[in-house]
Symmetry: C2
Subunit: 156 residues, 2 copies
């Protein structure tokens, strides 16, 4: 078996409109499609026979520099309705998504001014294979951890 692509990262959200507004309007991803589904095939895949979902699929704008076709899928379960667990990153099973930016200080300033919640100011990576890069963790509306990374070769 050969995996052909790492196609998307799906994130369950509590309010699809709120999360689309964040990923599209604040982070600048492109909304590829949005749909509601209670189809039998979807219920079979997710494993809940009564499932009702609202789904949005986003990706980097096609004209952007990034070659990655990796998508972000946002899923709001209307049924079954879940509850938010402990979001701290040290708990096994929790995930984060990292985005590259050319200028992390500028991105941080812009997002912080828009109210995005960061775990620290930008941190310079001083050791190891990514020495010279910068990184920072921040939070989406459901306290999912996201990361911005400025690669070592980009402008500092």
């Amino acid at each position: 078996m050969t995996l052909a692509e790492v196609f998307h990262t799906g994130i369950t959200v509590s309010d699809l409109e709120r999360s689309v507004a964040f990923y599209r309007d604040v982070l600048g991803l492109e909304l590829v499609a949005q749909w509601d589904s209670a189809q039998p095939y979807l219920r079979a895949v997710v494993g809940y026979p009564d499932a009702e979902l609202r789904i949005a699929l986003l990706r980097l704008p096609r004209g952007s520099a990034g070659a990655s076709g990796h998508h972000i899928e946002l899923l709001e379960y209307r049924v079954p309705r879940g509850t938010r667990g402990d979001a701290r990153t040290f708990n096994p099973g929790n995930a984060h998504v990292a985005f590259m930016v050319e200028d992390l200080d500028a991105a941080y300033a812009e997002l912080a001014a828009r109210g995005v919640r960061f775990k620290s100011t930008p941190v310079e990576i001083t050791h190891g294979r990514n020495k010279g890069a910068k990184a920072v963790y921040f939070l989406d509306p459901d306290d999912v951890t996201l990361e911005l990374i400025q690669p070592a070769h980009a402008a500092s």
Copy 2:
């Protein structure tokens, strides 16, 4: 601000060796790098001043068909040590990662024979924009949901 790439999805795991064995030896990803870190910069990024992590970075083999440079980062927190929350996909904050395959029935048969835990048999998508595709959810060693998708244009 423009995001340049969706670089990686990070997953916190309880046992790095066990998870590397799964993602590399069972799913066929390539191990790009593996390292331990209790560096001050890392502690600043993750927001835990006493953090000690073991990290592995994986991606699709470079010779593979996939154009996606999206990486999977596995992180085991030795300190602070967390606990596994409720893994069910309807809980906000839970994530899944979807991989494309050319032949889902073959991939399912191979992985199931190796003991991989699936939520269903392969499901044909009968409605909507992905009509004709197939999908199935399965679990990693920490019960993180993963997905295999066969696109509609591939061999059925």
